[in-house]
């Protein structure tokens, strides 16, 4: 069952064509890797899906609906969540609060309920806090729950970014270079974690990544971009032996 379909998506910034007619599909529960040299348009694709950018052309269908109808703040409620290349944790907030924000879109309570502590607020808040702490525990960050996000190490912030994204209980998870800067062991841990997440939550994952061993071992399928165009779409094995891909990307390694 296709959960996400990009159809001839093009994105232009002024005179620069960042993405040019890219199409691909994702089936529910798949892990798809999105690779390509720097500037190939990978993060732009993620940004279009999360509605930060508007495409100049093309359609995106998510769970059968036209995704382009939605505002950036509405995609969380649809079950889409992401991590960021530049991390973008909430640096002034406590770690646990960062994770709580992840679950923001599922809050029923409104301003009055919060300001006046109407019945129902406390229960929801306590429940979400419990869930957040348990999420931190699963990622090994519970000792840092009350620390300020800016005081965490780079690797810990990456994990926090992931914890926050997972806390939104997404159906579609977009990861932007989650293994950047990780050691081999950390990469392996991340891979196992993501496989476990996919198992447990039945979540579909789109991973933008440069760390080749990770992408190859993790993905069911890989889509390759170069200069904003899709140049390949296949299994890791197929991609590894694709001449054009090797030339554009792997060969330059």
């Amino acid at each position: 069952m296709t959960i996400l379909e990009l159809d001839s998506i093009s994105v232009a910034f002024g005179g620069l064509q960042a993405v040019d007619g890219v199409s691909f599909k994702m089936a529910k529960g798949e892990i798809v890797g999105l690779i390509g040299p720097n500037g190939a348009g990978k993060t732009t694709i993620l940004n279009v899906i999360t509605r930060v950018y508007a495409p100049s052309n093309g359609r995106i269908t998510y769970q059968g609906e036209d995704l382009l109808r939605y505002r950036p703040d509405q995609i969380a409620a649809l079950g889409i969540s992401r991590t960021f290349q530049n991390i973008e944790v909430f640096s002034g907030m406590a770690v646990v609060d960062n994770v709580l924000v992840g679950a923001h879109s599922s809050r029923r309570a409104g301003l009055a309920s919060a300001a006046l502590r109407l019945p129902g607020f406390g229960v929801e808040e306590a429940e979400q806090r419990r869930a957040a702490l348990s999420r931190l525990d699963r990622l090994g960050l519970s000792a840092l729950a009350t620390a300020k996000a800016r005081d965490l190490s780079y690797g810990q912030q990456r994990l926090l970014d992931l914890a926050r994204a997972l806390s939104a209980r997404p159906k579609l998870l977009l990861l932007d270079e989650p293994a950047s800067g990780f050691s081999t062991r950390e990469v392996e841990n991340l891979r196992e974690l993501l496989l476990g997440v996919r198992e447990e939550f039945e979540v579909t994952i789109l991973v933008v990544e440069h760390v080749m061993p990770m992408v190859m071992a993790l993905s069911d399928r890989i889509v390759v971009l170069n200069y904003g165009r899709r140049i390949a779409d296949g299994t890791p094995r197929e991609i590894r032996s694709n001449a054009e891909v090797i030339q554009a990307y792997l060969g330059a390694d």
Binding site: F13, G14, T43, N47, V52, F84, Q85, N86, E88
Partner: protein
């Protein structure tokens, strides 16, 4: 028709002042990525120092004029060194608050030293107005416009043709690249503040004979903020902005009511920021995630 020409003359005169102050604002912004909310107070200080030197100390006019320019330039550099440099890595809000507080300090220091009364700067030019083709123009007006033109041309030559000048325009955009290219970022900062101080003192001294010299005269800088916003903080565009703001407020003052004259500048700020915050003459900049 005559009325319109008179308005035009008035607009060009005041517009020159707004342009001078506005350019000072933009220089600091383009070099240090900081908006100096105390710019108006630097103008005010220029006027006060000028009066002190020429009236109280009794220096000859030309000497006190030039000395004032130098003194305020040095004050500008002192501010950069003691305040701005310490805030280089602070969040934007802190730098805004800092220059704002600086303005408060300068204004109240002046009130303490000189008292809250108003001063009148004796005119250093012949005061009889001249008739130019049906329009009355004061010598002071011509002086203001003349000096502005000369200063602007020199400034643009300096910024466009010299290495230091070009450095001042680029440093804010990419400090690291600038530093790597051998440009001393600190020197660029200091120079931009000095130039800005120079321009403010110039504006203050050009204004002093025309307006009353009082601690609150720095409020005129809001017009220059308007100009800079219209110009998107770009250099020639801000100059144009200064004249536009002046024209607009004079038109409002004459054809609507005088009370709304000041409001015109505020309205411009709010409208431009709402419609096209990057200025009327610039292209949009986007942040990439």
């Amino acid at each position: 028709m005559e009325l319109f020409l008179q308005i035009l003359v008035q607009s060009i005169t005041h517009g020159s002042i707004y342009a001078l102050i506005g350019v000072g604002l933009v220089l600091i912004f383009r070099a240090t990525d900081l908006i100096n909310f105390a710019q108006g107070q630097l103008v005010m200080i220029g006027a006060y120092i000028s009066i002190t030197l020429s009236v109280s100390v009794g220096l000859p006019v030309v000497l006190s004029f030039i000395l004032t320019l130098l003194i305020v330039a040095v004050i500008g550099a002192a501010i950069e060194y003691s305040v701005c440099r310490r805030l280089m890595r602070a969040p934007i809000m802190n730098t805004i608050i800092a220059t704002f507080a600086l303005g408060v300090i300068l204004q109240n220091a002046v009130i303490l030293i000189y008292g809250p009364e108003v001063y009148s700067m004796p005119s250093y030019l012949p005061s009889h107005p001249i008739a130019l083709g049906g329009v009355i123009v004061s010598v002071q007006s011509m002086f203001i416009v003349g000096v502005t033109i000369i200063v602007m041309i020199s400034l643009f030559l300096f910024l466009g043709r010299t290495k230091q000048g070009r450095a001042m325009q680029g440093a804010a955009e990419n400090r690291v690249a600038a530093a790597l290219m051998g440009i001393s970022v600190k020197r660029v900062f200091a120079r931009s503040w000095m130039l800005s101080g120079f321009l403010s003192a110039l504006a203050g001294q050009l204004l002093a004979p025309v307006l009353l010299v009082e601690p609150n005269m720095g409020i005129i800088a809001i017009k220059s903020f308007s100009a800079a916003i219209i110009g998107g903080f770009g250099l020639p565009a801000t100059v144009v902005g200064g004249y536009l703001v002046s024209l607009l407020e004079n038109l409002v003052g004459v054809y609507l009511t005088v009370a709304l004259k000041d409001a015109a500048a505020f309205l411009v700020i709010v409208l431009v920021l709402l419609a096209k915050p990057e200025g009327l003459f610039t292209r949009q900049i986007r942040r990439r995630v």
